[in-house]
Symmetry: C2
Subunit: 473 residues, 2 copies
């Protein structure tokens, strides 16, 4: 423990008392994540306020072989931001690095500290008639650095891509404490290996992102939302093809929602009435957005007409005001709350080819119901990304320990079905801790060697966010 | 030489006589590139026709320490596909692997052999009402594998991104001969480090791409083209901001063209008349494309009107037919021919922030003209990508040896100015051989270590496309 005490003393010397939290009560808000999960307490939470300070902390911890865990808004869903058990890890929070460094609306770029909150970034862009188009439920608390480390996705990936497509430059403190300044504001740059791409999605295991150049888009000045009722998942997929073409790729969202989710939303928010005149087995919540002279209302009406003519769409509501659109989106938000109210359940974040969604939903539902007829299946998600949240709600009266074991089994079963479809066990949430064994089990020997080799290249001592993504050394 | 003879015998045994070319005359068409450059002859050109055969060739060459150079359509512009001097390298051509393996228009994906020609891929997509939106001058001969290895860009990057954004899955033969099958047709997949991104842009130095899953988009069913005359580069940049907003991000091209290029085009293609009533210092060639009910004509007219009102646009021609649009695009193609007719000249492919284009063009022009008042500067390019081809034509009567030395000096000067703007010496062409020293000189020690470390991780013996991107061992 003397080494640790020595390091902590030096950290306090460098960062001051407010920069190094050691009181368990003060550290409390850094130890659990969005879902309320927790593992252990850290040795300390350090809060550097500059890139240089981050570099000094990393170098100092490296000299003493201390393990470091970089932390953003801890809104992740795979346990990646939870301090490890045993209390030997130092959490490095980026929260004090929260300045917008520059905005260049002519270049459609913005340079920010990694600790900036996504919502703040979006607001700052909007002041220049631009948008940073990443859109997540957690955007009021997640940080850009975490979005980068996890290659965050969200609702608008269909049109704008994941974080990987939205970052032009990075500033990174490497695990040896050197600063890698790659803060370029270039839309095109084709020099050598894609080092920067490695950091995107590396989950804090290859270095600490301290700053980034983000790509902006024109802020849409109009958008239209529709909620449609459909007879089958097949109809949803066929409508998606029509919508891509009929809406000139101006689609910003195309969400699949099963009837059960509409019910859960109404349970969670009793003021919500049934959105359409009748109940339908499947719904699509879609949005188109544009700048300039495009008649989005006519575009959606035409699509609705075409969809009805082909018997893909049975009924639909087109929001005629922002308030109405907000109400339609309320179903998407309240259905999450409705699931949460049902207590412990299996949340997944999987991907299959778009064309395979109907067959996958059918096959996976059959397999799950065969093993566990009393469970409820809720499959919703981002159709255009082939990304489903195929969630399973256990019976409310099942004992907690039994629930945990049972859901774990069902997850394994679901992943087996996913393998038959050449799908992904993590479409956007990442690996962290909770998907690690399923991830490793699916790597070929060659992939495992390359992945381990990259970790060793960047972080030979294995001190950076150890145990996330890959097993600890 | 016995080792080489032994390997060649085994290659012939495996691939047959037609699979292993050793006759200098037969090898002739594999030794030079698009620009007509050449260095040396290879030991042999091998032409495997399957992924397994590629893997066997790579393993066999690896066992004997033979250097291998993968080759696509050899249309690169940085000397990456040229066999090295000394005749000890084996060229591995992918040309016999040219099957479209599968098209899934519902998933908007296509699985292809690496040797497929880009134009063939685009045609196959069009048969399913889809487009593979990479668009290059060389698309009639470049191959998908080469597009991947060089992370190709082109005309439509503004809307659809570079190759990096258009590839969902890869099949790769690693330098030790193992096949890495990552042929997933998933639009979202967030599992672990971005290994696949490393291969994109690796210029054949980390492995041989044998197959790929490509992302398709709906084939636009309408497009409109306009050629506009503008007073200054500043006006071009301001118009670009207006166009992004006024055209609802349906822009597929926004090309900057100086007056001199219009003249060069008319010199090369005498049937082309002056495109507008008067001559203007700068032109913009722009295109918008859409599917579905959008009035693109009205959209462009509105933009033209707004641009004129703000005195950004002085005059403009809107093509009212496909033939007229083709004629406007003819200027873009003929101006390249016009440059070629001027003989040896400096071609560059650089990037700066879009907002810095006017200041960069001014500063770089001043510096070049100060050193070399007799040279002609031609700066054109993809405005939305901040990507300029800032080319320099020496006086026609300058001696060849003098030209070469002089242009080399001017390139170094230009790159110095670029450094002041935090720009890129290679926006899309890559590094290959011709940009290697300028690339290496700009790497920080940490970057150099990481880049070399990645090369060593994938290719410890340094046999794969040795000497390109990085110096040979």
């Amino acid at each position: 423990m003397t080494a640790a005490t020595d390091v902590l003393d030096k950290l306090v010397q460098r960062l001051g008392e407010t920069g190094v939290l050691q009181d368990p009560q003060e550290m409390e808000r850094y130890v659990s994540d969005w879902a309320g999960d927790r593992l252990g307490m850290p040795l300390a939470v350090v809060r550097p306020d500059s890139t240089t300070a981050v570099a000094e902390v990393v170098a100092l911890c490296g000299e003493h072989g201390m393990r470091l865990s970089p932390q953003g808004g801890h809104t992740g869903l795979v346990g990646g931001a939870l301090p490890e058990k045993g209390g030997q890890e130092i959490v490095l929070s980026l929260e004090r690095m929260n300045e917008i460094r520059a905005i260049d609306p002519v270049n459609f770029t913005m340079t920010v500290d990694a600790g900036c909150i996504l919502e703040t970034v979006k607001q700052a862009a909007a002041e220049h008639d631009c948008d940073f188009p990443l859109s997540l439920g957690a955007q009021g608390s997640c940080q850009i650095g975490g979005n980068i480390a996890t290659n965050a996705g969200g609702l608008n990936v269909l049109r704008y891509g994941m974080m990987r497509q939205l970052v032009l430059g990075l500033e990174v403190v490497l695990p040896d404490g050197r600063i890698w300044n790659n803060l370029k504001s270039l839309h095109k740059d084709n020099r050598g290996y894609a080092l920067q791409q490695l950091l995107l999605g590396s989950e804090g295991t290859l270095g600490i992102v301290t700053g980034a150049v983000l790509k902006l888009v024109p802020l849409p000045d109009q958008s239209r939302t529709a909620l449609l009722g459909l007879p089958s998942v097949e109809a949803v997929i066929a409508l998606y093809g029509l919508a891509r073409r009929g809406c000139s790729d101006l689609l910003t969202a195309f969400e699949l929602i099963p009837r059960r989710c509409i019910e859960l939303a109404m349970e969670a928010t009793p003021t919500l009435g049934d959105p359409l005149d009748s109940a339908y087995p499947w719904y699509v919540l879609m949005e188109v957005a544009a700048t300039g002279p495009v008649d989005l209302g006519a575009m959606l009406e035409q699509l609705l007409e075409d969809g009805m003519e082909r018997e893909l769409v049975l009924d639909g509501a087109l929001a005629s005001s922002e308030a109405q659109a907000g109400q339609l989106w309320q179903f998407r938000e309240s259905m999450l709350e409705g699931q949460r109210l049902r207590g412990e359940h299996l949340r997944t974040d999987i991907a299959v080819p778009i064309s395979a969604i109907p067959a996958f939903v059918e096959r996976a539902s059959q397999r799950v119901q065969h093993v566990s007829p009393e469970c409820e299946i809720i499959a919703y998600g981002h159709v255009g990304d082939g990304n489903l949240h195929f969630n399973i709600l256990p019976p409310v009266d099942m004992a907690e320990a039994e629930k945990y074991r049972h859901l774990h089994e069902l997850e394994a079963l679901l992943f087996e079905v996913l393998d038959e479809f050449n799908g992904s066990i993590s479409a956007e949430h990442g690996i962290g801790r909770s998907k690690q064994s399923a991830y490793l089990a699916r790597l070929s020997p060659a992939e495992r060697e390359l992945v381990e080799g990259i970790k060793t290249l960047f972080d030979p001592a294995g001190v950076m966010n150890a145990g996330r993504l890959l097993p600890p050394r």
